[in-house]
Each structure stands twice: as structure tokens, then as C-alpha cells.
Amino acid sequence: MITAVQKPFEEIYQNIKGIEKLLVLGCGSCVTVCMAGGEKEVEILSSSIRLANRQNGLSMEVAEGTIERQCDREFFDSAKKMIDEADAVISMACGVGVQFLAEEFKGKVVFPALNTKFYGATDEQGVWSERCAGCGDCKLTDFGGICPVARCSKSLMNGPCGGSSEGMCEVDPETTPCGWQLIFDRMKELGQLEKLEKTHPPVDWSSGRDGGPGRIIREDVKL
């Protein structure tokens, strides 16, 4: 899933000064799972804004809503009326949802409420961690199912750097394991250490973010 965390209230609140009718719109997918922008968070943020307004003597109507996904146009239909009526919308979706909302409702002011973080998994309730960097050229076959791009802080392809110590990464030795240690341990477990002797050429990053905005076109499924 795409993970995100909420921005500091102050940052969100700065944006909406002077707005008369505000809609806080949640997203019912990834960000609900990672507890950042689902219906519960919408309720909390909306209440917070209303309370802050009262404290500051501002009058602003704050409406609340949550749709299935903000990354598919059709789902906006159910919230269309609310969005139209609002002067501005705070989207509690990931960066994708915020932009899609803005695209769909031209002329509507849209603000993000979240900082979108990474593609991650739930380690346990309240703990999420990154697994994929979306490089566009999956190499997990060669590394026993552990990604050097996403799990090594430097995205090194041919073994660890000198900053790997006691299994931990120098970038954050307290919490971040060295990706290459994980790869090594796993390959050893699988009895495939010899696979690691293969030298990987410099990565062509153009298949991912460095190649510019990504786009997938599937003629076979296009209507």
C-alpha cells in the first residue's frame, strides 16, 4: 500500500485561512489502512479545524466526507455535490488522490493533509515499513526476494557499503537493518550465496522516477 502520515496541524491550518466553506475529504483505501486519512482521521481533523476556528473567532463551514478511493474518477461522483459547494477541499488522500481531485475539479482549491511516504507493509499495528521503491525494473529474483533498491539506503546493487555494522545500517543504526545483510542472510538460508557473485551493471534508473513521470498504456485492456 501507499503509506502516509498527517502533516502538522499548523501547516494544514495556514492554508485554509479566509476560506468560508471547507470540505475535508478522506480516502478509503491505502491511507485508511495506514491510519492517516480514513473516515476516523477526517473526523478528527475536521473537529480540530472547527475548534481552532472558534478559538480564533473565524467562521468557516467545515464539511466531512470520505470516498472509496481518490485515485479513480468515478468515486468522486458520490462527493461531487459536497466538493462543488466547498470553496476549498483538504484531501486526506496520498499525493495521487490530491492531484486527481484537483484535476477533476478544475478551479477548486485543493490542499494536501498528508505527507505521502512510501510503498510499505504493516509490520504490526502502528508500524509500517518500506518494501518497494517503484524502480520499474524488478530485480527481486536475484536477491532472494529482498530489494537492494528499497532496502539498502544507498540502493547499492553489488554488496554492502562500509556503513554496515552488526547487521544495521549507518543511516539509522537503531532501527534500520542493513539491506545487504538481510539479502546475505536470506541467500545463505536458501543456499544460493553463489548467486551473489554475479556483478550487476549500473542500474538504468530511467525505468522509474528518473525517466520522468511514469505512464502505463495497456492496449489489450483499453476500451
Binding site: G28, S29, T32, M35, E39, K40, E41, T66, Q125
Partner: protein, 794 residues
């Protein structure tokens, strides 16, 4: 269906009555005082921000439930005048009126309000409410014909039949549960009780702390003196009262919590281990700054400064200290009229005044039989019931759903009566046998190929077997068991874990001079005889506090080795755990036979130097580090934390405590319940190692299981949480956070769902769900937010 008589409406009598009534029997309880509940009525909740498991809240809940039961009739202010126990048991009693039949009472207070002289007091403690009459004031007892309380009672719960009425009660059997009196601290004249101000007893402090934050003034200096009238052969009381360390430490913690400036000292002989996470508890107290001083003061006087000056034996000398207030931790002594009851019912009384019954239809339980805590009294009462009513003791009642809740549909969910018991140690075997006797089909499995000595006829015993997967829920578990014949599939209504602990065996040295305590006897025998006397060490309390179980093993081993030629046994311990009469005797005889007990403080180190063992420790008497050489040392595994099998815990879906033993240390689950309905756990895996206690817990487990499965159905009110299919996104939060494992995924509907018979309706999942997809009926947000002073604006 029979009628039983119970004498004494303390927690013991009431607990027994509740079980009897649940099994369909009728119970008459005779209580000599005007109040129901016994000593527990005067006890404070001993929680700070965290519970200390004193059991007082549980007792009150139990009292509240029992008195409302229509099969239980409690007669207060009643005296037994005559007992004839020939062919049947006939008892003549005399009771003071008015009486209240609580099964009819609606607790509306009309009686209190209508009494012209205000002789009725209402007391409420948690769920438990009762009305107490002051007969001194009551007009009825002044010869007037007043019956205002009766006339004004809207539910016909008040009964009056003259000021005093006589009646004869015939019963199938009687249970004597007359409890105890506190040891009279006045007997210890030098300790100043009743002579000096600000000298209190434990029960005074219980009472005071129920309504006040301090004893005498805020920021006072309080000292607790343990073992007042316990472990005191001179007073003819050579036994540990077993409740005083627990109440004193808990009360001390409460005092310190309520005011950090309160200074607290505890004078003691040995602190008893009374809780499965006791070491953590004691560390907490020490961390709060509570002082533990070994040695019992022998004299208290008012010092020149006006404070209480205590003299304490200190090594060979005497030291003195001053305190503002003293708490004498008095022990358990016979009930006031214990002799009379013993005469009436032909009971036996031991040298300390504890009662037992030689008669077939008279039973004794509670603190009149031996020292017991509240929770242990409740368990013991259950065990007594088992003897009273025979084992297949009647039909269980199907729990009634109270009328105000029937806004919801009530459904009968059938459940299986088959029970799986995992682990064939004493805990598992006792539970299995008890259930078998009650008539349930029992499967007992053990991963080892063991052959139990007990007769397990009728129990399906499969050795070399393990549970490998578990599905379903209470009443309908589906288990895969790996047996020597391959994987077999079974269905069970209930599962009991009695799997003991994983032996972590890290107590043994390579050079062979340090062995595990259970192998010490053999290891000593295997040695060549030496000319000179050799010292053998037994080391207790190495990392955590020992329990009664390992203390018993240590003492028995010590005695056995000491009695051989030329051996001197030293037992190194922090405290001797003797909270059971047989242990105190064992302790006495091992000292008599020459075993030396050395009490250390802080950390002790044991080194194997190849030729023997070197033990180093801080001696609190000599106030320096001491080194002792022995030929061999036995280390008690009880002094090292032992974990339950984590894989099994996961499989069963049950949680653990801070030591990795089964189940959080939560009183609501005592003694054998777990977070998951239908799963029970007891014995060492739960942290209880002491044989006699395990037997009691096994009985309690069997009774809880019986209560659950006897009706063959579970009556479930369908007020469990409801998941909105459209909103649920299967994030698993509810499944992870449900304490009782009531949430599952309905794959057809593609959403989470609660299992009605498991859901406890706590609403924790509602509080967690990030999509706000779950609703607890009756607790919708709009309903919660409704306010009496809503001006229609919201």
C-alpha cells in the same frame, strides 16, 4: 435438587452458594452479623494507577450476583441454636427482623426513606449494594409494631415476623464458612496497639484507606510490622497467615502512591511471594522508595520527640527507629464463636484453631479452615461444593438474559461438550479427571511419550501428540493434532492448556559442580565420600523470587542430604516462602536437623572453579560481602524466569504476562480463564507451580468449563458489534485488536465480522477501526453524544 445450609456469609460462603444455586440447588445462608460479605466489606481497593490483584473488587461482584439469586436466601443477624444431624440435618435458628429477600429487592431505597427512626443504612461497594439494619434503633426491637419498611417496599422484599423469629431449616448438607477474626494485636502489649495513638492494625488501615488518603497526616512516616501473631511459636501460632505480606505490601504501595512524601518502612522476617509477577511488583515498591528492613520490632514506645520509637533486633544488637504511625500486620485467628460452631456441628479444631469436619455431610471452607486470600477462598469454596454435592452436581442453569437487554434477538448456539486438555502433568491430569467425573468426553494429549501413574480410565489419552492447527471458536473448535498415527482432526467445545514451562536448563556449569536443584540429590550421591565434612549449597532466588513450589523442593532436598553423613547443607535465599502450614513445618524441621539458612540481599554469584563452587553475596547482617566454598551447588530453576511455549500461545490465541507465562496478570481471569472464550490455562504455564494450589486451580478450571458447556448451548444476545460491509476495507485492525479474538474475515462478504458467541461487546474494535466501519449497537456516536442539556443546537 437439594437444599444446603451455609454458615457464614463471607466471600467463602457466598461463593459456594452461588455455585450450588447455579447447579439448581437451594441454599440458606446463616449470617451472624447484620451484613453480608464478611471481612471483605471493610477492605479498600488496593490499586494505584495499576491493579495489585487484591481481589476485593471481584469479591464484591460475586457478592452482588449471589444475593440476587432467587435460589439463595441469606438470613442476617441470625444465630444457630441447635443442630441435629442423624438421618437428616436439622438446624434451628433464630433471626432478628426485618429481613430482606434480595432476589426481590429493586434497591429503590424506599425502606431507607420510610423508616421513622433512620435505622436502615444503604452501603454500596462496586456492584454490591445491601441494606443494614440497626436493631438498637429499630422500633420493632423496642416493642413497637412498626412495619413501615415492609409496607413501603414496592417489591415485597422486606419480611417481618415479630422482632425475632425462630425457624427450623432442614438441609442435605452444611458448609461451615465462618471465616476468621484478626489476631488480637492487644496480645502483643509491647507493640502498643490500643495503648499508643497511631498504632493501627492491617484491617484498620484497609478501612481508613477506603475513604482517606493517609493514616494520620499527609506526608507521614509509616512503618508496617509483619508477622504480628503469625510465625510465632511462643504465641502458639507457628504458621504463616499467608495474607499479611500481600495486604501490607499492597497497602504500603497505595499509601506511597497517594502521597510521594509518605515514608514507608516494612519490618519483616520473610516476604512471601503472593503473585505470579511478584518480583516485578516488589521491584516496583523498592523503586518507589519503600524500605524493607529484616527484623521484627519487639518494643514500641512514645519517644521524646513525640514519635513512635521502635526497637528492632539487628544482628546481635538492637537498633532503634522513629515513625509517625505503625501498622501491625495481624494474621488470621479463629472466628469469635468458632468453638460454639465446632460444638454444634461436631467439628475438629487443630492447635491453631482451624476447623475440619469428620462428618460426611458437614464441610468446612474458607479462612476458618486455613489461611486463605480472597481469590483462594473463592477457589476453595468451589472445591468444597464439589464434595458437598457429589461430582455430577446437578444441572447447570442456562444463563438468563436480563429483560432490559432483550431489545436484541437472543439466539441459542449449540456447543460441543468435548474437551481437549493439552499437557499431562499434574495440572492437565487433574483437570481431565475432574471433567471426566462430571461426565464430559475428554481428550488428553502430551507431546512426550509419558505414562501417567494416575488412573485415567475413560480419558482419551494420546501421547506423543501435539496441536498443530486450530480453527473455530468457543463451543466449536476444530483442531488438527499430530499423533504418532498421523494428523487427526477433532472437534472440541473447550480447550485447556496445561503445558508447563520450557525448561531453559541454563543453571548447569560445564565443570559439573553446579547442577539443577532437582538433580542435586543424585549428584551428591555420585560423589566419593570425603573424610572432612563437606558443604552443599542450594541457591534460591537467583534472578526472580521463588515460589512455594520450589521452596518445598529445596527444603525437602536439603533435609534429605543433611541427614546423610558428613554433609552440611546451606540454603541461600532472599526470603523463605512458607505461606502454607506444611511449608512452615518443613522449614522448622530442616533447621532442626542442621540445615543452615543464609539470607542474602542483592545479587549472589556462583562460580564453578573446577574443584568446587564459590558463592559470593552481600550479607545484610554482617553488612559486607561474604564468600562461601561448597563442593557442589544446586540452583533452583524456580529462581529463573520460565516461559510458556510461545508457539502454542500463538496457536491458541492467548496472550502472556511480563515473564512470557500464559495470560496477563489480570484478576478477572483468575484462576484459569484466558482472553479467549473457551480456552483455559493453568499450572506452571500460567505461573502457578505449587502442587496443592494446582489441584485447587484444576477444580476451578473444571467448574468453569462445566458452567460453560453443561447447558449444551450458549445463549447469545445478538448485540455484538456490527461491521458495515461497504465501509470495511479489511485492514485487519479489528482482528488484531480484539481482546477475545471475536473478529474474523467473512470472505464471502469481503468484510470483517464478529462472532456473536465470542464478542464481549467491549467496543474496543469500534475505537480502533480507521474506517469507522464498526458499530456497537446502543453505543452509536450520535447516541453517546446526546446530552441532557442539548439545546437543540447540535
Amino acid at each position: 435438587m437439594s437444599k444446603f445450609l451455609i454458615v457464614g456469609a463471607g466471600i467463602s460462603g457466598i461463593s459456594a452458594a452461588e455455585i450450588l444455586a447455579r447447579k439448581g440447588h437451594y441454599v440458606e445462608i446463616i449470617e451472624s452479623t447484620g451484613a453480608i460479605g464478611g471481612k471483605v466489606n471493610g477492605y479498600a481497593c488496593k490499586a494505584t494507577d495499576s491493579c495489585s490483584r487484591c481481589g476485593v473488587c471481584i469479591a464484591n461482584t460475586s457478592l452482588a450476583g449471589a444475593i440476587r439469586n432467587s435460589r439463595i436466601r441469606t438470613r442476617t443477624s441470625a444465630t444457630i441454636n441447635k443442630v441435629i444431624n442423624n438421618h437428616s440435618l436439622d438446624v434451628w435458628i433464630e433471626q432478628k427482623n426485618p429481613q430482606i429477600d434480595y432476589s426481590k429487592c429493586s434497591f429503590c431505597d424506599s425502606c431507607v426513606n420510610s423508616c421513622p427512626v433512620g435505622c436502615i443504612t444503604k452501603t454500596t461497594r462496586g456492584e454490591f449494594t445491601q441494606y443494614i439494619f440497626d436493631h438498637e434503633k429499630c422500633l420493632l426491637h423496642k416493642g413497637k409494631a412498626c412495619s413501615q419498611c415492609l409496607e413501603n417496599c414496592p417489591s415485597g422484599a422486606v419480611e417481618i415476623n415479630g422482632a425475632v423469629s425462630d425457624m427450623k431449616i432442614s438441609a442435605a448438607a452444611a458448609l461451615i464458612a465462618i471465616g476468621h477474626e484478626n489476631y488480637d494485636a492487644r496480645n502483643k502489649v509491647r507493640l502498643g496497639y490500643g495503648r499508643l495513638e497511631n498504632v493501627f492494625t492491617g484491617s484498620d488501615v484497609e478501612e481508613i484507606l477506603s475513604h482517606q488518603d493517609y493514616l494520620y497526616r499527609s506526608g507521614e512516616d509509616v512503618a508496617f510490622i509483619q508477622c504480628v501473631g503469625s510465625r510465632d511459636p511462643e504465641a502458639g501460632r507457628n504458621f504463616c497467615s499467608s495474607v499479611c505480606c500481600s495486604y501490607a505490601l499492597r497497602l504500603a504501595r497505595v499509601l506511597k502512591y497517594r502521597n510521594k512524601d509518605t515514608k514507608i518502612t516494612i519490618y519483616y522476617i520473610d516476604i512471601q511471594n503472593f503473585d505470579k509477577t511478584f518480583t516485578a511488583f516488589r521491584n516496583e515498591l523498592e523503586g518507589m522508595g519503600i524500605d524493607f528492613v529484616r527484623g521484627i520490632p519487639f518494643s514500641v514506645e512514645r519517644g521524646r520527640t513525640g514519635k513512635l520509637k521502635v526497637l528492632v533486633p539487628d544482628g546481635g544488637a538492637v537498633s532503634s527507629a522513629e515513625h509517625d504511625a505503625l501498622v501491625l500486620s495481624t494474621g488470621i485467628a479463629p472466628a469469635r464463636n468458632s468453638d460454639r460452631i465446632a460444638d454444634l456441628f461436631h467439628l475438629d479444631s487443630d492447635e491453631s484453631g482451624f476447623l475440619s469436619s469428620p462428618e460426611k455431610n458437614i464441610f468446612v471452607t474458607g479462612t476458618c479452615s486455613k489461611p486463605l486470600s480472597i481469590l483462594d477462598s473463592m477457589t476453595a469454596a468451589g472445591e468444597a461444593v464439589r464434595f458437598i454435592s457429589g461430582c455430577g452436581y446437578g444441572e447447570a442453569e442456562i444463563p438468563e438474559i436480563t429483560p432490559h437487554e432483550t431489545a436484541f434477538e437472543v439466539r441459542d448456539i449449540p456447543l460441543r461438550r468435548d474437551v481437549l486438555v493439552i499437557g499431562a502433568g499434574p495440572a492437565g491430569i487433574c483437570t481431565a479427571s475432574a471433567l471426566k467425573l462430571m461426565g464430559y468426553p475428554v481428550t488428553l494429549i502430551d507431546k512426550n511419550n509419558i505414562k501417567p501413574e494416575e488412573d485415567l480410565a475413560g480419558v482419551d489419552f494420546i501421547t506423543g501428540s501435539e496441536l498443530v492447527s486450530l480453527d473455530g471458536s468457543v463451543g466449536n473448535f476444530i483442531a488438527d493434532i499430530k499423533t504418532p498415527r498421523g494428523i487427526m482432526n477433532f472437534n472440541f467445545g473447550v480447550i485447556v492448556a496445561a503445558t508447563g514451562t520450557e525448561n531453559n536448563g541454563n543453571t548447569v556449569s560445564k565443570k559439573g559442580n553446579i547442577v539443577s536443584l532437582d538433580r542435586l540429590g543424585e549428584a551428591v550421591s555420585a560423589r566419593k565420600r570425603r573424610r572432612e565434612a563437606s558443604a552443599v549449597a542450594i541457591v534460591l532466588d537467583l534472578e526472580i523470587d521463588e515460589t512455594r513450589a520450589s521452596t518445598e523442593t529445596a527444603l525437602k532436598t536439603a533435609l534429605e542430604i543433611q541427614e546423610r553423613e558428613r554433609y552440611q547443607v546451606f540454603i541461600f535465599c532472599k526470603d523463605m516462602r512458607v505461606a502454607s502450614p506444611e511449608l512452615e513445618r518443613l522449614y522448622q524441621s530442616s533447621r532442626d536437623s542442621g540445615v543452615t539458612i543464609i539470607k542474602y540481599s542483592g545479587r549472589l554469584s556462583v562460580e564453578d572453579d573446577g574443584s568446587g563452587v564459590i558463592i559470593e553475596f552481600d550479607d545484610p547482617y554482617l553488612n559486607r560481602r561474604v564468600v562461601v566454598q561448597c563442593i557442589i551447588a544446586g540452583i533452583s530453576p524456580g529462581g529463573i524466569p520460565q516461559k510458556a511455549d510461545p508457539a502454542l500461545m500463538k496457536l491458541l490465541g492467548i496472550t502472556g504476562d511480563c515473564y512470557g507465562q500464559i495470560q496477563e496478570n489480570n484478576v478477572h481471569l483468575f484462576p484459569a480463564g484466558t482472553n479467549r472464550p473457551g480456552v483455559f490455562a493453568l499450572g506452571s504455564c500460567r505461573g502457578e507451580h505449587f502442587g496443592p494450589q494446582i489441584l485447587l486451580d484444576a477444580g476451578a478450571a473444571a467448574r468453569s468449563i462445566d458452567e460453560l458447556i453443561a447447558p449444551g448451548i450458549i445463549k447469545v444476545e445478538l448485540s455484538n458489534v456490527v461491521v458495515d460491509q461497504d465501509k470495511c476495507i479489511l485492514c485487519l485492525t479489528c482482528i488484531r485488536s480484539c481482546p477475545s479474538r471475536a473478529m474474523i474475515i467473512n470472505s464471502e462478504k469481503g468484510c470483517a465480522q464478529s462472532i456473536a458467541e465470542v464478542c464481549q461487546k467491549c467496543g474496543i474494535c469500534v475505537g480502533e477501526c480507521p474506517a469507522k466501519a464498526i458499530v456497537l449497537p446502543g453505543y452509536e456516536d450520535t447516541k453517546i453524544l446526546e446530552s441532557a442539556d442539548d439545546a437543540g443546537n447540535y
